[in-house]
């Protein structure tokens, strides 16, 4: 009897097992929905993501490479010293930020917001996303020349997007910004940014000003090719009804925090690598001789605790602990230091440059002085401003003002915003820079980034063949 019972139970169990396997097979197997990650997220989470990728990339790789070429920084250890400071700058260095920081990061997220916000009637999100897109794609064109946009962001539908000309990208930037301004002006939007907007906390008026500021910046980038027209566009736009930045309170700053894993990219690089020092161009040539009160904010003293010494580009001295050369100071190098994306002082220098080019010396002079003042205000040292500008090297008077003055003061004020400074230098040649010692390019400072290895391998038919010594369109008028 016992045997029969066991057999009976066994048979029933075997049948049950078969039932599970065969009759309700599909249901049993439907366990492949990812419980760990959402398949849809609200626009707010994508916006925070998009901004943080942009902010970290601008303060991170983009600034480190371009800021070294334009000699804000000099390498004192490792790859910063042995590779990009001597222009040994390969296609593997740009991989990370091209892929994960920009295209599949900040810009990928922005494109998703643009699509989604358009579909669900949230123009306010669409507008902010278009400004981020314009910002990012503009920077990429500044750095590389031709970059993908018109065929980009189609995900699996187009895995080898073609490249747009730099000039076309600049037009796209203007177009996106115009669209954004319209979107932000809509009275109804199902969803609108709020606390998820790390830069402006949902202040749409501020975003509109930022968009107008960026229009100025990008007209200015075409100064060599478009000449006077670019200056006129800038000055007219400022004079027109479009509100651009009006004070440092309008600045677009990406915040970081004094909390582990939330810190500023410059700070993290110092903390985790320490491979760069402030350059001797910034400290010893431009700032120390004029007793620039910004020095203790920009740099830290060397081992003696009082002296600020910059590192020459191309040095072979290793100085990770910054005992010989000054490391980055607290204003830009603290964990909670924001990364500036666009500032009132930059706008003033753009205005000064445009006015100078348009032959409006008085306007140029006023904007120049305002630019310096705005920078001191921003740094919180407005009390030292008077002594500093009292020096004729700083304030030569309206008649004595030259482009050299404007671009040099802009260079100093734009410290740590390497991408923009490098573009300025490539446009104007100011300040005059001496190529790094021990450079491997025969004494030529690079004028573009190499396309990343991933594009060369994965988008070979579209990626242009260039070297880091070939100027982009805004410099020489040729697209390559």
């Amino acid at each position: 009897m016992l045997i029969m019972k066991i057999l009976y139970k066994l048979t029933v169990f075997a049948l049950m097992v078969s039932m599970i396997g065969l009759t309700s097979c599909d249901k049993f197997l439907d366990v492949n929905t990812d419980p760990n990650n959402p398949t849809e997220v609200p626009l707010s989470l994508l916006l925070t993501s998009s901004q943080s990728y942009l902010g970290y990339t601008m303060g991170g790789d983009v600034n480190r490479y371009s800021g070294t070429f334009v000699q804000h920084f000099a390498g004192v250890q490792g790859q910063a010293q042995e590779e990009y400071d001597i222009y040994n700058f390969g296609d593997d260095e740009t991989n990370n930020f091209w892929r994960f920081g920009m295209y599949a990061g900040a810009l990928g997220d922005a494109s998703l917001i643009m699509n989604e916000a358009g579909a669900n009637g949230s123009p306010h999100y669409a507008g902010v996303a278009k400004i981020i897109m314009a910002y990012g794609i503009g920077v990429m064109a500044d750095l590389f020349g031709r970059v993908p946009y018109s065929e980009a962001f189609q995900f699996s539908d187009n895995i080898t997007p073609s490249y747009d000309n730099q000039e076309d990208i600049y037009n796209t930037v203007q177009g996106l910004l115009d669209e954004a301004i319209v979107d932000l002006g809509q009275t109804t939007s199902v969803f609108s940014p709020g606390a998820d907007d790390l830069v402006y906390g949902g202040n749409l008026a501020a975003w509109t000003k930022f968009a107008n500021f960026l229009k100025l910046r990008y007209w200015n980038h075409t100064s060599v090719q478009n000449g006077a027209a670019s200056a006129t566009a800038i000055l007219n736009h400022i004079d027109g009804n479009s509100a651009s930045f009006e004070s440092i309170g309008d600045d677009a700053d990406h915040p970081f925090f004094n909390v582990p894993n939330s810190g500023n990219p410059h700070f993290q690089f110092e903390q985790q690598r320490g491979q760069m020092a402030v350059s001797d161009v910034v400290l010893d040539e431009l700032m120390n001789p004029l007793n620039d009160p910004r020095v203790p904010l920009y740099a830290n003293p060397i081992a003696d605790g009082v002296t600020y010494t910059g590192a020459p580009n191309g040095t072979t001295v290793q100085d990770q602990p910054h005992l010989v050369f000054s490391g980055l100071g607290s204003y830009y190098g603290s964990s909670a230091s924001p990364v500036p994306l666009g500032t009132f002082y930059e706008q003033k220098f753009i205005e000064a440059e445009a006015a100078m080019r348009a032959g409006q010396q008085d306007r140029a002079y006023a904007a120049y002085i305002d630019g310096i003042k705005a920078n001191f205000d921003k740094l919180g040292i407005d009390t030292s401003y008077t002594d500093y500008v009292a020096q004729t090297e700083v304030d030569p008077g309206q008649a004595g003002l030259t482009m050299e003055h404007i671009m040099t003061q802009k260079y100093i004020a734009m410290f740590t915003q390497g991408a923009e400074s490098w573009t300025d230098w490539r446009r104007t040649g100011i300040p005059a820079l001496t190529p790094a010692d021990n450079n491997i390019t025969g004494g030529v400072i690079p004028v573009r980034f190499p396309y990343p290895e991933s594009e060369i391998q994965l988008n070979a038919s579209n990626v242009p063949a260039t070297t880091i010594l070939d100027p982009t369109w805004f410099q020489d008028g040729t697209e390559d």
Binding site: N37, T48, G101, N261, F269, N438
Partner: protein, 1040 residues
């Protein structure tokens, strides 16, 4: 092993007693020695009536009136069938089965079959082969013992993982390891990485600790034998999970002791030491460009001799001197103890095997260890005349303490190997009174600090359970139901003290909990039928259900405030990741077999899988295998031939499928991780409060289908001269198509990759197992066993459009391990020398160049090596005389390259011995760039050469790993039976053994048998990996 196979045989016959009509008794003895044979199965032919002989070889059996013949079966002996002819006493002498024609092996799904009938290649190993390797990790013990099996240990750390492949790699991105099966139930052999899951498995493998593969939880002392199913044909019944073959482990059972209890006790003590240390220079001081500098990583300073007073890295003024800094002071002699106690008892119907084993190993690096406690019970019971049960339960607790390795700022080797000669490594305390660290450079931990302050611990509890019901309703039908579970919980904790660089000096603690559950249920029905005397057939039909659940809970706390208090409560920032992976599969399968006159064997298998990991439209897939075995010596009546009495041809074809990774069919959003290659970046939620999600950089693909491997195999088995010489040869061709892999594409599309089906990889190769007994004279015997294998893989294509030339499978940006079109699997890709069309290295001969007289680096990265060996050869020689056995295993690997990341750094830092001759002008081989003439420029090979050229030239740091090593040598003495009988013991043996005692290789500085990425498919890189070890073990084995 013999006892197990016997039991199996007996089980299948389903012995039981019936009311009988006459009684037959007798004694069974060994034909050669005349000794009584215990445990011989005596069966009335055509029935399930039978019994086992007792320890005096005696049997007594009641035979029904219909019984005409008795069969006598004993493993290793030829089966005898004797007509009763009314006799009541039948004594039998059993002769040795010289050619092992009755040998039974465990095949897929746990089905036992006569080896003679197989149409594909299998190889068997006894448990003593595993134990004899003196390895804590049984996977490492397989090294050199199976033709076609590649074994790669991560390094010599306690608990280090081991990666194994059979016949090459068939899948682009799956892990490519064979399935591990214990007593018919698949178990998990994963190597789970450690660290923040958002950092990706790849990064974690480059910089975490060396993790264990979970096969390490198996107590080698429990293993009765192992059968390796090498090709797809052999493993076809397992389906997708065994696309890379299977390793079938059978554990020990009780029962053949004729009712007596056998107690076994084994104890061993082993010692381990680093087997190879790098040579460093002691002539030049810390510094750069001949200038002393006390904060640099470099030893390119001035000559120490005559340098005079300098300020040392901790600010003291001292006279510069070269400190010995003997690496042996840092490393320790590791110790391994292994104790195991086993009990075997019961009779043929009700029996058990129980064991408890404990192993503890301390490493050569201070504060590292691994231990394992294993308890096992295997029991079998006949619950009714036609129904038996088998249960097996195994509990293991394993784990230990590990250190950081690889690209990790708290890896002690980073500041040990290249420590400047002028740095007093052992004299200067690593820690100051205020708790800060002393080191000669920033950003890396002092090695002595690193091993004291940053422990990683893991603690694994694992339970393997297995329950079987075996029902034999009639002599031609068998129904088996088997359910098995594999459960483990792995708790890990990483501490990084305040001051340690890997945690940015702010301190970190993380806790990780992994749990894994797998359940397998198999219902198997086998029916057999003979058609006349010549044709035998059988059909097995089965059904399998597989359930796998995996969970990872990771909590990282950064920014500790109280020194020495390592609890998450002490952190100022917490990051949490919660991952669950679930998959299920349902399968139906069959195996139809037919044989003709016991010399021609045909087998056809088929299996249909339904898997949860593919979409409903694609989840069902079928595959099949056909195999043929032809014993031509029987067919052509050659078995009496003295020279070649046994020969068999094998032929098989198989096609197996492989499903997709979990959750690959959909696109998801993941927490954002802004960062760059240089910093840790941001982790969301930012500040612990601000959330951010981004589209996963790899987008899903709902249209994925299974990947397939098809294989053709031919084989030949020959046994010569009374089996004094034997050969087993296999040749195979495998083609794997529709690879599922993450196809990288232009990031300008908005994502960087998607999973696709594409690509083709082939593996062709051959394996030869050769054994010989050159001398067998009286008590002396010399046996040789050699295993040779060669596998050539070729990546035929990667994507259907042929747009992708290569895929990264591991490593850094450069160098990395890639799958490249037209190359063998696992090519090493990185920067190489610029060469002319002849392949000559081009030398910079521009006198104004800083690199005048030095090689030029090709600006375009290329394939610079391959990790796959050309061939592998293991040769074991065994000499035995009476109770004394001397055995040595020589392991030879030819070809295959490894990126020597440590050697590169030692050169870059100016620490390597080869950098000592830095002032003599030398002419490097090559041709001049300007005119192509032979280089004649003599320049000193100093800092510029090593730092600017060699360290950036990955090709210059890729070295051939070819080696010859004495993997095992052992001397064992077993007390003769007549001596043992005077003791309380049944058996007593002692042995002394050495592991890895001798190594010959051209690989510089280290033993090349290491792998940075551990038990992972991206082999070919070494980067500050812990060194390998050699060891000595002394063992005493007692049974009573």
């Amino acid at each position: 092993m013999k006892k197990i196979i016997l039991l199996v045989l007996v089980s299948f016959l389903g012995l039981h007693l019936l009311h009988a009509q006459s009684v037959v008794s007798g004694t069974v003895t060994d034909d050669e020695t005349g000794n009584a044979l215990e445990g011989v199965a005596v069966v009335v032919k055509g029935t399930t009536i039978g019994i086992l002989t007792d320890d005096e070889g005696k049997y007594r059996l009641q035979v029904p009136a219909t019984g005409e013949e008795l069969e006598f079966n004993f493993v290793g002996k030829l089966k005898q069938t004797i007509a009763i002819n009314g006799r009541s006493v039948i004594d039998v002498k059993l002769a040795e089965d010289v050619f092992q024609v009755d040998e039974v092996v465990v095949t897929a799904i746990g089905i036992e079959r006569g080896k003679k009938s197989l149409g594909y290649s299998v190889q068997e190993l006894g448990g003593d082969e595993i134990v004899g390797a003196q390895e804590v990790n049984m996977m490492s013990a397989l090294s050199g013992k199976v033709a076609g099996l590649t074994v790669t240990s991560s390094n010599g750390m306690p608990g280090a993982g081991t990666y194994i492949t059979l016949r090459g790699s068939t899948s682009f991105l799956d892990n490519n390891q064979p399935l591990i099966v214990i007593d018919g139930v698949p178990i998990d052999n994963s190597t789970n990485y450690t660290g923040d899951p958002n950092n990706g498995a790849r990064n974690n493998n480059l910089q975490g600790v060396t993790n264990s593969n979970r096969g390490i939880d198996i107590n080698p002392n429990d293993i009765e034998d192992i059968t390796v199913l090498k090709g797809p044909a052999a493993a076809a019944l397992y389906g997708s999970r065994a696309a890379n073959g299977a390793i079938m482990i059978t554990t020990k059972r009780g029962g053949a002791q004729g009712g007596k209890m056998e107690v076994g006790f084994k104890t061993s003590l082993g010692f381990n030491q680093v087997n190879r240390l790098p040579e460093v220079q002691k002539t030049y001081a810390q510094g750069s460009r001949e200038t002393y500098n006390n904060r640099t990583s470099l030893s390119w300073g001035p000559k120490i001799e005559g340098l005079g007073e300098v300020i040392n890295p901790i600010g003291e003024t001292v006279t510069a001197q070269a400190y010995e800094n003997d690496f042996n002071n840092f490393f320790e002699t590791g110790m391994t103890t292994d104790n195991s106690l086993s009990l075997r008892g019961g009779n043929i119907d009700n029996n058990f095997y129980a064991s408890i084993g404990h192993t503890h190993q301390t490493g050569v690096i201070p504060n590292t260890d691994f231990s394992r406690l294993s308890v096992r019970l295997n029991a079998e019971s006949k619950v009714a005349s036609k129904l038996r049960t088998r249960i097996s339960a195994n509990y293991t607790n394993s784990g230990g303490q590990r250190i950081q390795q690889g690209s990790n700022l708290s890896n002690p080797l980073f500041t040990l190997w290249p420590a400047p000669a002028t740095w007093d490594l052992y004299g200067i305390p690593y820690e100051n009174a205020d708790g800060t660290m002393n080191n000669y450079r920033n950003f890396f931990d002092n090695p002595r600090w690193a091993v004291e302050k940053n422990p990683f611990t893991d603690d694994v509890d694992r339970i393997l359970g297995n329950f079987q019901l075996i029902y034999d309703p009639t002599s031609w039908l068998n129904v088996t139901y088997r359910i098995g579970t594999d459960f483990y919980a792995d708790r890990r904790k990483q501490i990084q003290a305040i001051g340690s660089w890997e945690a940015n000096t702010i301190g970190r603690v993380y806790e990780e909990q992994l749990t894994s559950t797998e359940v397998n249920s198999d219902l198997i029905v086998t029916a057999s039928h003979d058609f006349g005397d010549d044709i035998s057939t059988s059909l097995t039909v089965g059904q399998n259900i597989n359930i796998q659940n995996f969970q990872r809970l990771f909590v990282q706390g950064d920014g500790l405030t109280i020194p020495g208090f390592y609890n998450l409560a002490n952190a100022t920032s917490i990051i949490t990741t919660d991952y669950v992976g679930r998959s299920r599969g349902v399968s139906g399968y069959f195996d139809a077999r037919a044989s003709y006159k016991n010399y021609l064997f045909l087998s056809v298998t088929g299996r249909n899988d339904w898997t949860s990991t593919l979409s409903a439209e694609n989840r069902s897939f079928f595959y099949h295998s056909e195999s043929l075995g032809f014993v031509f010596t029987d067919a052509f009546d050659m078995s009496q031939n003295n020279i070649l009495p046994y020969g068999k041809l094998r032929l098989s074809y198989a096609r197996t499928g492989n499903g997709a990774p979990v959750y690959a069919t959909q696109s998801v959003y993941v927490p954002s991780t802004p960062g760059d290659g240089w910093t840790n970046g941001l982790l969301f939620p930012l500040t612990g409060t601000i959330p951010g999600f981004t589209l996963s950089s790899t987008v899903g693909n709902p249209n994925l289908t299974p990947e397939f491997t098809s294989a053709v195999e031919v084989g030949l088995e020959l046994k010569f001269l009374s089996n004094r010489l034997g050969l087993d040869f296999s040749y195979y061709q495998q083609t794997s198509t529709d690879q599922i892999f993450s196809q990288q594409f232009s990031a300008a599309s908005g994502a960087v990759a998607r999973l696709v089906n594409a690509g083709e990889i082939t593996n062709n190769g051959f394996e030869i197992t050769l054994y010989a007994t050159p001398v067998k004279s009286g008590d002396f015997r010399w046996d040789i066993l050699a295993n040779f294998s060669r596998n050539v893989s070729n990546v035929v294509s990667i994507d259907d459009e042929d747009a992708i030339s290569q895929l990264s499978v591991g490593g850094f940006t450069a160098p990395q391990v890639v799958i490249a079109k037209g190359q063998p699997y696992g090519a090493i890709f990185g920067s190489g020398y610029l060469r002319n069309d002849n392949g000559d290295i081009i030398i910079d001969d521009d006198v104004n160049s800083p690199f005048y007289g030095l090689p030029i680096i090709d600006p375009v990265n290329k394939i610079i090596g391959n990790s796959q060996p050309d061939f592998m050869l293991g040769i074991r020689n065994t000499f035995s005389y009476k109770g004394l056995t001397l055995s040595a295993l020589l392991d030879i690997r030819e070809g295959g390259e490894l990126y020597g990341g440590t050697t590169r750094l030692l050169r870059l830092y100016g620490a390597a011995k080869e950098t000592e001759d830095r002032e003599t002008p030398q002419v490097l081989p090559g041709v001049k760039q300007s005119d192509g003439g032979v280089n004649d420029i003599a320049v000193p090979l100093g800092q510029t050469y090593y730092q600017n050229i060699i360290s950036n030239l990955d090709e210059a740091n890729v070295f051939e790993t070819s080696w010859v090593r004495l993997r095992e040598i052992s001397l064992t003495y077993s007390l003769p039976a007549n001596v043992v009988s005077k003791t309380p013991f049944q058996g007593l043996s002692i042995s002394a053994a050495g592991r890895n005692l001798w190594l010959s290789t051209n690989f510089p500085n280290f033993d090349p048998e290491v792998s940075l990425t551990g038990a992972n498919f991206g082999q070919g890189l070494e980067y500050m990996s812990p060194p390998n070890t050699k060891g000595y073990t002394f063992t005493v084995n007692l049974t009573f």
